[in-house]
Symmetry: C2
Subunit: 163 residues, 2 copies
């Protein structure tokens, strides 16, 4: 079962990719996405079984997880990014999209894959009817997200569990 309907991905998104590259919903076979996420943060020893379990959990949460991957011209997963849709009471029982965990493999940087991913996730959020799309970033990346149509609207606050 697909995580979401691939027709939510706009033609413009596909046209932005280098020749032979594909952008599509993540699939249960895409264990390679785990390696790509290592550029971002600690991933740990995630087994194929653990990956598949998370994937199944995403599928079971209908209309919530929209995780995209980009495949290069030799079929390797080289980029991954997520949109989580939250159903609210405010704004006439509206929904918002949270963009999370945008990663591009080091060897594939400079090809605007991150930009394509952000634009595609935002476009999916808007096609789903979300009244806004939000994300958190470091102060250094504000300019990049402004180019994607985002504005700074506040501060991101984090509380981590002590170990």
């Amino acid at each position: 079962m697909a995580l979401f309907d691939a027709s939510l991905i706009s033609i413009e998104s596909i046209e932005c990719l280098p020749s032979g590259y594909k952008i599509r919903p993540i699939d249960k076979a895409d264990f390679g996405a785990v390696e790509v996420l290592r550029v971002l943060t600690t991933v740990g020893d995630v087994t194929r079984e653990a990956f598949e379990k998370v994937y199944e959990s995403w599928v079971s949460h209908k209309d919530t997880y929209y995780v995209l991957v980009i495949e290069n011209d030799i079929g390797d997963i080289v980029s991954v990014g997520s949109l989580i849709v939250e159903k609210k009471l405010i704004h006439n029982c509206g929904s918002i999209g949270h963009i999370e965990d945008i990663a591009v493999a080091k060897s594939e940087q400079g090809k605007k894959l991150g930009l394509t991913l952000i634009k595609t996730l935002t476009s999916i959020s808007e096609r789903l009817g979300c009244y806004k799309t939000i994300l958190d970033c470091s102060e250094n990346n504000i300019g990049f997200y402004e180019k994607c149509g985002f504005q700074k609207t506040g501060a991101m606050m984090t509380r981590r569990v002590e170990h």
Copy 2:
């Protein structure tokens, strides 16, 4: 069916409340929460049926929505706040908690209900095993969230749909 297990609410949270007040999971009968949210932003004409539909959608998304209400000593809903749990691949297939839409009725401000709500949602997030809890706020409110154990870690970026 309850949205989540009330035993996730710590004794400390209950002890912080004014006498006669209760903190508990939101229920299908708590249409009053919609009025409280008007202090925050545009809510619109949300009917009881629309409220119940959102509530049912939250229930159907297992282990995702943890929405709390505070009831005052005469049984009115006077505060509401949400935690949305997101299942990730990073951090050993860890989860994080997103705190959203914290509202306290104007007539009930100054009783630390907002603080109790934040502390309770954070404690639920940590009891569920989330490795971090995040929220977005205006620059003015950073000090308040620092008191709740949060640190500023970046910028919140928003893209709204044009009307």
